[in-house]
């Protein structure tokens, strides 16, 4: 079976590709360029096109699938926010209309499931990365605020941190928010 993976994120496409590579008798093609996409798909003549539900080229591809004589009945699968329920809904809602004659739904399901799993794994990775970046930035903010308290009030480090923590608890805020407020106040008072 020939599977085309259309994704503008090359990293995500390769993660999906890696996951699908374990499937027997599958030939994979990764397309990351928007330009010339329709022509490329025409050359590949895939049995299945896997793409993100939010891919910007979808209207163009649907038009192509609808009028194309070369590619008679390709399959488009959409990978996004995918729990089983939404896959079921998507199949009901029309993804099945792209199914090539004789290609049963039970052959598509595992491919879709696998792609979705990889997609979600990638999304998680991105989220973790963003979280980690956010935490690092917070760490720096807190350290800076701590130094301000230490310098301006002559507090030792553990005491400065404890003050911020108790302020956060009393006000129902995060320590990072308190630290941010201290830095802003310090700047307004002419500090650097």
């Amino acid at each position: 079976m020939r599977i085309a993976i259309v994704d503008e994120s090359a990293a995500r496409a390769s993660i999906i590709q890696e996951g699908l590579a374990t499937l027997p008798e599958c030939e994979l093609f990764v397309l990351t360029e928007r330009r010339g996409l329709v022509a490329r798909i025409g050359e590949i003549a895939p049995d299945i096109v896997l793409m993100d539900l939010g891919n910007p080229s979808r209207d163009v591809l649907e038009e192509y699938f609808a009028v194309s004589r070369v590619l008679d009945r390709p399959i488009a699968m959409f990978v996004d926010e995918s729990d089983n329920e939404s896959i079921a809904a998507s199949v009901e809602a029309g993804v099945s209309s792209y199914v090539v004659d004789g290609l049963a739904a039970n052959r598509i399901k595992p491919i879709l499931d696998l792609a979705v799993m990889r997609f979600n794994a990638f999304a998680r990775l991105q989220r973790d990365l963003a979280d980690a970046k956010g935490k690092l930035a917070e760490r720096e903010t807190i350290d800076k605020a701590k130094r301000i308290l230490m310098d301006s009030r002559g507090l030792p480090e553990p005491k400065a941190y404890a003050e911020m923590r108790s302020a956060a608890m009393n006000q129902g805020k995060r320590i990072a928010d308190i630290a941010e407020a201290i830095i802003t106040a310090h700047r307004l008072m002419g500090g650097h």
């Binding site: 979808r58 939404s86 029309g94 209309s97």
Partner: protein, 402 residues
Amino acid sequence: MPHELTIGFLPLVDACLPILAHEHGFAEEEGVSLRLVRDVSWATVLDRLLYGHSDAAHMVAPLAIATTLGRGRPAQPLSVPFVLGLNGNAITLRPEYARRLRPEGTMGDAAQAGAALRTIADERLAAGDPLRFGVVHRYSSHNYMLRYWLAACGIRPDKDVEIVTVAPPFCADALAAGEVDGICVGEPWNSVAVEQGAGEIVLATAQIWRRGVEKVLALRERVLDEKMDAVRPLIRALCRAGRNFVDPQNWEVNAGILARPQYLDGSSELIRRAIADRLLLARDGALVHYPDFMFQYREAANFPWVSQAEWLYTQMVRWDHTPFDVEEARRAARVFRPDVYRSALIGSGEPLPGASSKVEGSIRDRTVVGTQQGAMVMEANRFFDGMVFDPHHLEKYLKSLP
């Protein structure tokens, strides 16, 4: 506890009403809280609606009908209780062609520009490289307006010229790269092409049909029934947003809101021009005022006339080359729900038309029309070729088209 609705939209100026209803607090005041989800293709907006990621969607009107009829996918009945606006699109051509179609510094005349385009189309066809137009979706008003104009001017779509799909944000690029010779798209994307020097505006779609239906608010029929208590306040909020939108005092602020990254993520200057019906037709030209380029609120513009759905159905039959089917026509007509619009606005003081259907294209001068509530005057709503669409005679109308 207010009702909550998620609404999908594309970054276009005519997504303005849900955005403004949310940002100005009209929705909250009416008792419904909105969550807006932006996408970049109509296919995605539609999928989210069908999979239940969204409750309602900003949608090209023909797509709501095509989905209900099951064109290209299994049928899923959609309902349209509110029209999000009329017209607001333009036809933009590569500069060298645009200059052959109209005098510099003004919009063209639809018939004259069409005649000039026919010459160009013939030249290109003879050279074995037919003219190519980009529209935003096969089931879009843009596609149907462009085709209506071409056909009426003796240019046969799909035979004399090619028409392909290009997503709105990529229209200017496609024009610049020579992938297409012309585009029919909503604002701000014509203006983006003009600013880049890739194209010049030739016609507004309002010149093809003075009061053409454009985007609609679409919901799954089932969801509309289930969430009627949230949809009615939403309609009232959208109506208030429309009143706010047409008031010149609010243009600056509204353009700024629409330009935000989470909405159109574009130039508030270009958006303000579209709101004010002012357009730069060519990069080095002056701003041109074309009244009612985009039509909102007045004359109950947001009322879902059943005759509009029926007109769209005739165009679908015409360009999909499918046989006219009475049962299909009935289902298409049923997509537009004036009953829901009325039930939401009764007692609000907003004018409610007495009829649900009208003969499209028949009004030549200001006409007072019968209402159930409020007073209403309608202005000219003509098709440029003078044809009249009588919803009682769909088949006869189809036969009379070129």
